[in-house]
């Protein structure tokens, strides 16, 4: 009997994890739909890698549940890992292997391994088959890791900081192209990144994490639409940032201040008017500005 395909590629519910006294994940819930590119963004120590390790079954949930394609990665690691192409943040490939050995070894675990595609990617990445992993640069190491994650056309590509170590050309022309191709083929991509422009260009959905919590999640366009950037002008210079209720952050000096709002635009405008200011410009903030605004809001 065939089990019906799950509605979500990834479904995390109320996931919490503690390392000693530090709460690395705090009641995290998120869903990743199949065929979408999902970007996971957050500051250092936000819990992105911890979340990815739970998806791989490398960490057992202390509370909550994790399902990948409907499977529990701890109880059924083979079923989950056989569907995931994973690129680790640390690029921990065995240093003693040669590139061709790495390909040969990895191929044994995946019946759907596409040798021709692997060879094509190897050429595209400029990796010498006889080169030992330990002699590769950090960028080449990332390429080798990406190669073995891609070559069996996994149902989901899980990339932990994939851009780390890659030069801008490779990042833009190869990585992003691959991610888009994978998604266009109906497969899922989940990647974590510090580079918000990259997430902006590639992702369909995103989740923003701070201190082990998901503070913002949804379709990228919706997230951007839900945030507004207001440029406020006051009659007299303000000695300190004016208090504007509903604004995530407020920056500037003197008479002109910029506020980033999340869904409470009208409340923020009314507050600014009461404080003697007026809105002189309004547009959608960039993802970078949204991230910084949330980071500021969390730190205060």
């Amino acid at each position: 009997m065939n089990t019906p395909a799950p509605a979500n590629a990834v479904e995390v519910t109320g996931l919490s994890r503690k390392f000693s006294s530090k709460l690395a994940l705090n009641q995290v819930s998120l869903k990743v739909k199949p065929g979408r590119v999902f970007g996971l963004v957050g500051a250092n120590g936000a819990g992105k890698t911890t979340l990815i390790k739970h998806l791989l079954g490398r960490l057992k949930p202390e509370s909550g549940s994790v399902r990948v394609f409907g499977f529990d990665p701890v109880n059924d690691p083979v079923a989950v890992l056989g569907r995931i192409g994973y690129l680790s943040e640390n690029r921990d490939l065995p240093a003693w292997m040669r590139v061709d050995e790495l390909l040969r070894y990895t191929a044994a675990f995946y019946p759907q391994w596409d040798m021709a595609y692997a060879e094509e990617l190897r050429r595209q990445f400029g990796l010498e088959p006889r080169a030992k992993i330990k002699t590769l640069s950090r960028g080449e190491n990332a390429k080798a890791g990406l190669l073995i994650a891609l070559a069996y056309r996994p149902e989901m590509l899980l990339l932990d900081e994939p851009s780390s170590g890659l030069d801008p050309v490779v990042r833009r022309d190869i990585l992003e192209a691959i991610i888009r191709t994978v998604a266009d083929e109906g497969r899922t991509v989940l990647f974590s990144s510090h580079l918000l422009e990259e997430v902006d260009r590639v992702a369909d959905d995103l989740a923003m994490m701070f201190d082990g919590r998901v503070v913002l999640a949804g379709a990228l366009d919706d997230v951007k639409e839900s945030h507004r950037r207001l440029v406020l002008r006051f009659d007299s210079p303000q000695p300190s940032a004016p208090k504007v209720a509903g604004a995530l952050s407020i920056t500037g000096s003197g008479k002109e201040w910029t506020a980033i709002c999340n869904g409470k635009r009208d409340e923020a405008v009314a507050e600014a008017l009461r404080a003697g200011g007026k809105v002189v410009a309004e547009d959608s903030p960039s993802l970078d500005e949204i991230f910084v605004a949330w980071a500021g809001a969390k730190s205060t």
């Binding site: 791989l56 079954g57 490398r58 960490l59 057992k60 701890v74 109880n75 059924d76 690691p77 083979v78 079923a79 989950v80 890992l81 056989g82 995931i84 994973y86 680790s88 640390n90 921990d92 490939l93 065995p94 240093a95 003693w96 292997m97 050995e101 040969r104 070894y105 990895t106 191929a107 044994a108 675990f109 995946y110 330990k134 002699t135």
Partner: protein, 558 residues
């Protein structure tokens, strides 16, 4: 920290704290406990040659054949005779290693490296050199004098050569020079270091050479110059870029086991991986450790026309060669390669496949290692009168094959049984094998000490009839634990039924083979048949293998 010197001293303390504490502990133990132990057992370390005392004490024990108690007594005597010198030797070697300043970094190209970060500090090469050399020499001097003057060392001719402080200082400076000069060539460095170390350990056999007043100062000077130059070269990467093709990689090329063009199964690919990851390096290490001293001696004997080794030395040499594989395999089982864990743990394979392939790779590794050892043992007759050694050991010729099988199995077992502890990812569990070893040794010492009291001998004799029952109980516990472990493995799908059936078949074959070895060849007395059979069932690993996949799963999904 107010100065670079203090910072370097702190780093040595911080990096080697457990070892330094162990050295001080050993020293204090031998100062305070050793004389009392000698008094209890009636051993007099001040006799002209403690080896004679050892033989006098041992002969009455040896009469009547080996029993667990007699074996225990033998080990206690061995400890009393060789303990202080061995502990001194180990602690001085440990300090020598500390002052080469190399650190273990499994993620680096060369896992044993001099930390390049020191070269980014605002300290001159000369300062670093003098600090390490003078610090090392001072540490060796202080430690050596402490051992010599504070510990009551049994008089042993064989250790006479080691009781030369300047010899140890020379060894340290030479080690520094070699380690720093060969920083870019790990295999060459290992071979040269092993060669120097064995030359030092067997220096008593070349008394004529090392007795010369010119040899040690010359070696010290050469070592010091090499250390200074190579530290400078290492700082600026001047030698590390050199490369040359030479015979050694070619010799070991066959061991690479490149495998088929495409692996037929994940298990086959994993076996290849484990062979390359740990089994092959272990074989190379064991081969290097046994081949370098043998080849060095052969060269001295054949090429330079040196005198044949004396029977005692040849015997000691043989024992060293035979002890190397089990020790190396035991130590390697204690340090699982954690660096590959993230890479391996995301492969779609069960913990059972991982466990079984590690066991298979270890079995291949121990067999290949023993082939190398046996090849070196075959050259022993070229070094001296090996027939006398064989006669002294009085091993029946038909037992040799059985002994070799037993040694291969023993070396594998050293590795296999620790898997369930060391792969669990739990720090406290990882230390269990060492604790078990120490506990067994302590029990042997206690039993042996008890045998000097008539009161305890009577009690122990009363206990002897219960030994088969006790062993049967242990077998029952082992089988029960194995049943529970395998049941959990199957229930949690950590182990496939076919893998379990495969291991059980191997277990039955191993038990049958060892029983055949025990019963057919040595022909034991009737009263020993039952305890020996139960002992064989006990030593072939089963329960701990059953718990290995569970331990691995714990580490995998922590």
């Amino acid at each position: 920290m107010h100065s670079p010197s203090a910072a370097l001293a702190w780093e040595i303390w911080r990096r080697h704290r457990p070892r330094l504490i162990a050295i001080v502990g050993m020293l204090l133990g031998f100062v305070l406990v050793y004389p009392r132990l000698c008094a209890v057992t009636g051993f007099n370390p001040d006799t002209p040659d403690a080896l004679d005392e050892f033989v006098r004490k041992f002969l009455p024990i040896a009469n009547g054949g080996p029993t667990p108690l007699r074996i225990g007594q033998f080990f206690v005597l061995l400890f009393l005779v060789g303990g202080p010198a061995t502990a001194m030797l180990l602690s001085l070697l440990c300090v020598t290693w500390m002052f080469t300043f190399i650190e273990f970094n499994p993620n680096a190209k060369d896992p044993v490296t001099f930390p390049a970060r020191l070269f980014t500090l605002p300290i001159s090469t000369s300062f670093l050199y003098w600090w390490l050399v003078l610090g090392g020499v001072t540490a060796i001097f202080v430690l050596f004098e402490s051992w010599i003057h504070l510990v009551r060392q049994p008089h042993l001719e064989i250790f006479g050569e080691y009781q030369d402080c300047f010899g140890w200082m020379t060894l340290m400076v030479l080690a520094q020079g070699i380690v720093w000069a060969l920083a870019g060539w790990p295999i060459t460095r290992l071979l040269v270091l092993v060669g120097v170390l064995f030359s030092f350990l067997f220096s008593p056999t070349w008394g004529g050479v090392f007795g010369s007043p010119w040899v040690l100062p010359t070696l010290f000077f050469l070592g010091a110059v090499l250390a200074r130059v190579s530290l400078q070269k290492m700082r600026h990467g001047q030698w590390q870029g050199w490369t040359w093709k030479w015979a050694i990689p070619g010799i070991f090329a066959w061991t690479k086991m490149r495998g088929p063009a495409r692996f037929s199964s994940p298990a086959q690919a994993q076996l290849w991986f484990e062979w390359r990851r740990f089994a092959r390096p272990l074989c190379i290490l064991v081969t290097a450790l046994v081949a370098v001293p043998v080849v060095t001696h052969l060269l001295l004997r054949v090429a330079l026309g040196g005198a044949p080794l004396q029977t005692d030395t040849l015997f000691a040499f043989t024992v060293v060669l035979v002890v190397i594989p089990p020790v190396i395999h035991f130590l390697s089982s204690m340090s699982p390669d954690r660096t590959h864990q993230p890479f391996l743990m995301v492969r779609p394979m069960t913990d059972g496949v991982m466990t079984m392939t590690v066991l298979k790779a270890a079995a291949i590794g121990t067999t290949v290692s023993w082939v190398a050892v046996i090849a070196m043992l075959a050259t022993m007759p070229l070094l001296g009168d090996f027939r006398t050694v064989e006669r002294n050991v009085s091993v029946l010729p038909e037992c040799r094959g059985a002994i070799i099988i037993g040694l291969i199995f023993g070396s594998w077992r050293m590795f296999a049984v620790n898997h369930c502890f060391t792969r669990s990812g739990i720090r406290s569990l990882a230390g269990v094998p060492v604790l078990m070893f120490l506990a067994l040794y302590a029990v042997a010492i206690m039993l042996s000490v008890a045998l000097h009291s008539d009161y305890w001998v009577v009690i122990l004799q009363r206990f002897v009839p219960f030994v088969p029952g006790l062993l049967a109980g242990l077998v029952a516990v082992k089988l029960l634990l194995a049943y529970l472990g395998f049941r959990v493995c199957l229930k949690r799908r950590l182990l496939a039924p076919s893998e379990l059936a495969g291991y059980l078949a191997v277990w039955v074959v191993l038990v049958a083979a060892l029983l055949a070895v025990v019963f057919i060849l040595p022909r034991p007395p009737k009263e020993l048949i039952l305890p020996l059979s139960l002992g064989v069932v006990l030593i072939v690993p089963l329960a701990r293998i059953a718990f290995s996949p569970i331990a691995l799963a714990h580490s995998r999904h922590s």
